[in-house]
């Protein structure tokens, strides 16, 4: 916690979020640096930064996860603050503590809050104890011997989650008691593999749920406000793909209640900075606390579009000790925003991460169109990091206008050289269920066949012509045919 203005900011992240943070920080006259591992093709962020600070590690990912490296980089370059972005060390209290020890500000909540919310079990206990809604659940650590029985008592179907989890890794749905033991064992193994922590808990699985979250912001002086909700139910294996705000599922009353609950939880936790409270929203209109993300979310731009706030700027102000300076009533909401995540993954290969060089990259533009990109044309995309390349965000007066702009933005986008989900995104937008706003987190799975594009017939003649005519050897060989024979054609006597 500091109360000094930030003059030199180190962005301890990469890709689109590093570029996003750099744009705001630079606009505020802050000198900026970004870290980079020697083995990676850094893309846009190193081009935007005033300085690039090298970090080392056996693998590029290891370097970004190395607290000592990041703190060392910040000291070497003389940063007075570090923005962790999302992922990597953003929710690791060790970084905040180490930076604090080095006299460097951490753009994020205090480590105690991160610690509280980072453990799912302690988080939901904290929330439940303060009277906020949580799904019926059973926690292994309470009494490991009776865990299976208590799990069943929650009432099928149930969702098994690793206590230390996040990002959907290691989650399993159980619909029948027979498979419970096997699924618990598998989830435990996965938890150990991904998080080094095999502890589990289960909670009631809400069928065809929606995933709705609320953006909150607190200052160092006790003020907490919300910036409305985001609908993130378009998910594939718990990975969000399309987000929008406002949620088509909420009426005004529910919206007010869910936002109020979110602010209440943040306030109770002594939250500082930007954070997100995630909820499961059932078809019956009930919602339950899911988890709190103590960082900036990937999908924060939709909130920025409808509120007009720059959340990164707000994070930096809060980190510098400034009071919010506005009340909840000062935050207005205008229109509708949709975010589409453009990822280097191949829908034709089971969404396998794709690699290659970005031979051609075209980003959309136009009224209400924003692109948060982390890549540049010519860049090599490897398999070391998350597959997110860029986010296309559109804003319109209404949902239908936003949707139309989103489809046009996709049409104006091109990414050649690396397989992406670009066309898949368009098929989602074109789906009548999405257009109607009538979808749950099961939507992509339920409509997998149609969204796979099997019904689309490629324009083969044009494609073959493109392939042949762009082949210099083929064209040269064709031109080699004497003109006389070209004119005579396939004549035979």
């Amino acid at each position: 916690m500091t109360a000094a203005p930030i003059r030199r900011l180190l962005v301890a992240n990469r890709g689109e979020i590093a570029a996003r943070i750099l744009r705001t920080a630079k606009a505020q006259g802050i000198e900026c640096a970004v870290v980079r591992h020697a083995a990676e093709d850094g893309g846009l962020a190193p081009q935007l930064a005033d300085a690039v600070v090298p970090i080392e590690g056996a693998t590029p990912v290891a370097a970004y996860l190395d607290v000592a490296q990041i703190v060392g980089a910040a000291r070497r370059w003389g940063a007075d603050a570090v923005h962790p972005g999302y992922g990597f060390l953003s929710e690791n209290p060790a970084l905040a503590r180490a930076l604090d020890a080095a006299g460097i500000s951490f753009v994020g909540p205090p480590p105690e809050v991160t610690e509280l919310m980072g453990d799912k079990i302690s988080a939901r206990r904290f929330v439940a104890e303060r009277g906020f809604p949580v799904a019926p659940s059973a926690i292994e650590a309470d009494d490991p011997g009776s865990f299976a029985r208590r799990a069943l008592a929650v009432g099928l179907p149930i969702l098994i989650k690793p206590a230390a989890g996040g990002g959907g890794k290691g989650m399993r749905i159980v619909r029948s008691a027979e498979v419970l033991e096997a699924e618990l064992a598998a989830a435990r193994r996965e938890g150990e593999r991904y998080f080094g922590d095999g502890r589990l808990f289960v909670e009631r699985y809400v069928e065809r749920p929606r995933h709705i979250e609320v953006q909150v912001l607190g200052d160092q002086h006790g003020s907490v406000v919300h910036f409305g909700e985001r609908e993130c139910s378009v998910q594939r294996r718990f990975q969000k793909i399309i987000e929008e705000t406002p949620s088509p599922a909420l009426d005004a009353g529910t919206r007010a209640r869910i936002c109020e609950v979110a602010v209440g939880i943040a306030r109770a936790a002594g939250y500082v900075g930007a954070g997100t409270v995630e909820f499961i929203f059932g078809a019956d209109g009930q919602f339950y606390f899911l988890e709190m993300n103590t960082r900036l979310q990937v999908e924060h731009p939709v909130t920025e579009c409808v509120t007009g706030f720059d959340l990164v700027a707000e994070q930096l102000r809060v980190a510098a000790g400034e009071p919010l300076g506005y009340a909840q009533a000062d935050i207005g909401f205008q229109g509708h925003a949709i975010e589409l995540r453009l990822c280097a993954e191949d829908p034709a290969q089971g969404f396998m991460p794709a690699t290659g060089s970005l031979l051609v990259l075209r980003e959309p533009a136009g009224p209400g169109v924003r692109v948060d990109s982390g890549v540049v044309e010519g860049q090599r995309v490897g398999s070391d990091f998350d597959s997110l390349l860029a986010k296309l965000i559109v804003h319109g007066r209404s949902r239908s206008q936003a949707l139309a702009r989103a489809r046009q933005a996709l049409a104006d986008t091109a990414c050649l050289g690396v397989a992406t989900n670009l066309d898949y995104l368009d098929r989602i937008l074109a789906h009548p269920q999405f257009a109607a706003g009538d979808y749950s987190t099961a939507f992509l799975e339920e409509q997998a066949a149609e969204l796979g594009g099997a019904a689309e017939t490629p324009p083969i003649a044009l494609l073959l012509a493109a392939a042949a005519l762009s082949d210099g050897h083929m064209v040269a060989a064709a031109a080699d045919m004497p003109r006389l024979y070209a004119q005579m054609g396939a004549w035979r006597n």
Binding site: V360, R362, P459, I460, L462, A467
Partner: protein, 164 residues
């Protein structure tokens, strides 16, 4: 010149010819008068038969990327001679990477006799270790990767000797 273009699971054998009015693409569906006019920055005006469209086209090696009418298409060019050579061989193929990733270890050396299903290479992708196994019995002709190498999808990790 004849080429085979692979689009999804389908192979299209094509010949590009010079005709009286321009270039003609002989396809299995018949001849198509075609044209490609560069508009700069990878953009092209494309024509094939009576169809016209604007397209973005990029090539890398034998792979052709085409962005056309709001969809991205990938074609792979195969020299017919390569296709014929491959078709004529018994064995002589290899084990390929099922996904992009990093090689963790290589378990065989050139010249080794392996049995179908025997472990050849361990690679890591998406935090998962994947073991690549021999698709059939045979003798290793060459190993094309080493620990730490980044490999792409379908990269041939190990090739087998032909057993004609």
């Amino acid at each position: 010149m004849k080429k085979i273009f692979r689009l999804g699971d389908t192979e299209h054998a094509c010949s590009l010819l010079r005709g009286a009015e321009g270039l003609i693409l002989e396809t299995q569906g018949g001849p198509l008068l075609c044209a490609l006019q560069p508009l700069g920055a990878a953009r092209y005006r494309l024509g094939a038969g009576d169809e016209q469209a604007e397209a973005l086209i990029a090539r890398h090696g034998d792979r052709i990327w085409v962005r056309l009418r709001g969809r991205t298409h990938v074609l792979d060019a195969v020299d017919p001679l390569d296709a014929l050579t491959a078709a004529g061989r018994h064995g002589g193929d290899g084990a390929q990477a099922p996904m992009p990733g990093t090689i963790v270890s290589v378990l065989v050396q050139p010249g080794a006799e392996v049995k179908a299903g025997q472990d050849l290479v361990v690679m890591e992708s998406m935090k998962l270790e994947v073991t690549i196994r021999a698709p059939h019995d045979g003798r290793i002709a060459a190993v094309h990767c080493a620990p730490g190498d980044q490999v792409t999808l379908k990269f041939t990790l190990v090739s087998f000797e032909a057993t004609t």
